[in-house]
């Protein structure tokens, strides 16, 4: 495995930011579009979004060095508009409070929630913009780097957005099953979402890996590491089979077997999506290789 300056803390952050923003989008979509029987999913998604992104952001802060033990230095983080981290700090500082407020408003938690209940619609619109911004920015963060040719492609934000939407929906569905297990039958309606998001994710991943094979020697080296090299067992088992194929098949069955699928398979499909989501982030970070400067 090649040395990367970023490790598991950044992987955790990329995954949680994606899952949290995806859960927010799932909650909003469900609250606006789906009828009353699906309110558990909107509530679960809204409750999970803010805390997930907040925990992810703490992982990001823990990865700092001087900025961690001299926290006032973090004030400087917003000073360079040409840096994606500066944009990320602004986006996260907006999204975390908005998503927490949305969770309070939708679930009418405390007087704050009751007060903001009438502004739910506004929070949904603004929050969705920032949720998409969070999901896309995590991809742009590593896509603008020309120090790692494998990451340096516009497909990266698309892949991260697709993964964020599928993991977010998975979080919301697991949450709905926890809040109210009787809704597990109605969750079959949302299996169609998994089918759509997972197919997009699969196609983008296919494009990303195959185009990397001819993009540059370094990108090809990284791609081969995933396809047949040292990371290939993880890539094929965790990302392709567990992360995409298994939940894809399970979701199709779930959609047609409406409400008759065993509970553990419904939740199991969602857990598979989450394992695939974090494995995808980890493998992309760990397979990055530096440009061959001596060529």
């Amino acid at each position: 495995m090649p040395e990367s300056a970023w490790g598991w803390l950044i992987v955790t952050y990329l995954f949680l930011a994606g899952a949290g923003s995806g859960a927010f989008i799932a909650a909003v979509a469900c609250d606006l579009l789906a009828p009353d029987w699906s309110k558990a999913l909107a509530r679960a998604g809204s409750l999970a979004a803010g805390p997930l992104v907040a925990v992810g952001t703490s992982a990001l802060v823990l990865d700092l060095e001087a900025g961690l033990w001299e926290p006032w230095r973090q004030f400087y983080l917003v000073f360079n508009p040409s840096s994606m981290i500066t944009w990320g700090v602004v986006i996260l500082s907006a999204f975390i409070p908005i998503s927490l407020l949305y969770a309070a408003a939708l679930n009418e938690i405390t007087f704050i929630g009751r007060y903001f209940r009438k502004y739910v619609w506004h929070l949904e619109i603004v929050g969705t913009v920032f949720a998409f911004a969070t999901a896309i920015y995590t991809g742009v963060l590593i896509a603008v780097i020309n120090g790692v040719p494998f990451w340096n492609t516009p497909l990266m934000p698309v892949l991260f957005l697709a993964s964020a939407l599928s993991t977010g929906l998975a979080v919301a569905m697991i949450g709905a099953a926890i809040i109210d297990i009787s809704t597990i039958r109605t969750l079959s309606n949302f299996a169609l979402g998994h089918v759509i998001f997972l197919s997009i994710e699969g196609v983008v991943l296919l494009l990303f890996v195959f185009m990397s094979l001819t993009r540059s020697v370094e990108a090809a080296e990284s791609a081969m590491m995933l396809l047949s090299g040292s990371l290939s067992p993880f890539f094929w088992a965790l990302v392709v089979v567990v992360g995409i194929l298994a939940p894809f098949v399970l979701s199709i069955v779930e959609y047609y077997e409406y409400g008759r699928m065993p509970k553990y398979l419904v939740v199991g499909a969602d857990l598979c999506v989450l394992i695939g989501g974090i494995s995808l982030r980890a493998l992309i970070i760990y397979s990055g290789t530096a440009p061959q400067v001596l060529a």
């Binding site: 970023w6 700092l64 900025g67 400087y76 040409s82 120090g147 400067v293 001596l294 060529a295």
Partner: protein, 180 residues
């Protein structure tokens, strides 16, 4: 203002690592921290074999990727064209390490900041030259003003058609190599 750069003649390099050690001494680095890396490039098979030593350090790119991605603005270019790190501003996010195509940056875990070659600007401002340049027994490196066409470094680059590493990356490095 001068615009400092270095020309490196790899055909003279014997791989003794004196530049690396002189740099570590001057900058008070630990034994496992280095601003200079000496890569070895092997070509051919014995007996038609050659080994090339390529010393690498911060290229002080004019279009520095590290400076562009640094969120705190801790990385800046001095008037002499030297890319420097503001020690009290860096938070240690390591974004610059990922962004640098030449991978010449490292984290100093004592101060928790990103560090790298800084052309020994303390010596240079007193009229001297960087430690790696003065210490080299075979005089591989030539330090000087790239804007002055009569400087030794400019003449060497012109005479030998010296090229930076990976000019295609568009970072406009200020270290030029004569490799054959």
């Amino acid at each position: 203002m001068p615009r400092y750069g270095i020309a490196i003649d790899t055909t003279k390099c014997i791989g003794c690592h004196a530049c690396k050690v002189a740099c570590q001494n001057h900058n008070g680095l630990e034994y496992d921290q280095k601003f200079n890396t000496i890569y070895q490039v092997d070509r051919g098979k014995y007996p038609s074999f050659s080994k090339e030593f390529v010393p690498a350090q911060c290229n002080h790119c004019e279009n520095a990727p590290c400076e562009r991605v640094c969120p705190t603005g801790a990385i800046y270019t001095s008037p002499e064209g030297v890319v420097l790190v503001h020690r009290n501003r860096c938070v240690g996010c390591k974004y610059c390490i990922e962004a640098c195509p030449y991978k010449v940056r490292l984290i100093d875990h004592h101060e928790g900041i990103s560090v790298k070659c800084w052309f020994c600007i303390d010596l240079v401002r007193q009229g001297g030259e960087p430690a790696c340049v003065t210490t080299c027994p075979t005089q591989v490196r030539i330090f000087g003003d790239l804007d002055d066409p009569d400087s030794r470094v400019s003449r060497f680059i012109a005479e030998n058609r010296a090229q930076p590493l990976r000019p295609d990356l568009g970072t406009k490095p200020k270290i030029f190599y004569k490799r054959s």
